[in-house]
Symmetry: C2
Subunit: 179 residues, 2 copies
């Protein structure tokens, strides 16, 4: 199964995809974040089979991203709430949204607008460096093997000797820049 | 096909998933970003079937995320380069990585470390508000229907009357906060 293969990789993108990488899962988390917390609400909004939705929710609970919270005792009924790990997924969802807004915009414009409560402004989520505040755009960063780097499938590049943790920083990859 | 259903949704996360939402695709883009640009290199690193890799690459070229660039004429051979839209995917990949580093960290620590060339510091990518620089963490934002909002599958919440574009801001959703 693909998820199992990803789970074996020494790559945090692959690890994240073991939780988020299946069709529907990001939209389920989006809906829970937006306040649709009950099975029937999610089923009605997403229009997926109840069986598939149940599988996805169960996996998200097992992965610690959603928590089942009882809201009724007889018969027992549950809502799904984001855990701390689940709330941490939201910024990733927002960056996926921002990419779609920019590159797959429908004719009418972005379907959603976001307001940052602290400053009251409409905003487009931006990935930034927390030290200098500079925007991160895929150029201008260098990628090195980290302490948990290891050889294995999907990690050939970082396992190259010149990028091992003990090497000098100038041995780093150029972050995909051309030339 | 799931991708077609997502393509019909008025949701930029769903639209993004029509491009990125399949297993392997984020890892293919990661590898191209890190400098593995040739079919055989990608195939060797990822260990997926050549048929599946070819399908994914073709879709990414059609979607405008990768460009095929010839590097040899006889026989014709191509490399895959990120387009501007492809470079724009990188921040989203980094937020997925950051989530995995935090919540699925291997025993040895993060497999990769990132250095922001402009300030020279190791950094953990953070999603921020471009106006005030404040970090976006899933709390403290309000979500409203945007100009392209429309009723349809997967958009029930934003199609609620109180969240229509013409409504007052205080009609907004609470961003998933409890209580």
């Amino acid at each position: 199964m693909t998820r199992d293969r990803f789970a074996e990789m020494h790559c945090s993108i692959a690890q994240t995809l073991t939780v988020l990488g299946e069709w529907w899962t990001p939209l389920i988390l989006r809906d829970v974040y937006l306040g649709l917390r009950r099975f029937d609400e999610l089923s009605a909004d997403l229009g997926i089979s109840r069986n598939l939705l149940a599988q996805r929710l169960e996996h998200l609970v097992e992965a610690g991203v959603l928590a089942r919270v009882p809201y009724q005792e007889r018969p027992p009924r549950f809502e799904y709430h984001l855990t701390e790990a689940g709330h941490d997924v939201v910024p990733a969802l927002l960056t996926l949204m921002a990419w779609g807004d920019k590159w797959k915009t429908p004719p009418g414009g972005p379907p959603v607008r976001l307001v940052h409560d602290a400053c009251g402004r409409d905003f487009v989520p931006q990935v930034a460096c927390p030290h200098c505040g500079g925007g991160i755009d895929g150029h201008g960063i260098s990628v090195y093997a980290g302490p948990g780097a290891a050889q294995g499938p999907g990690t050939m590049l970082l396992a190259r000797p010149q990028n091992a943790p003990q090497s000098e920083p100038e041995g780093g990859l150029d972050g995909g820049r051309e030339g």
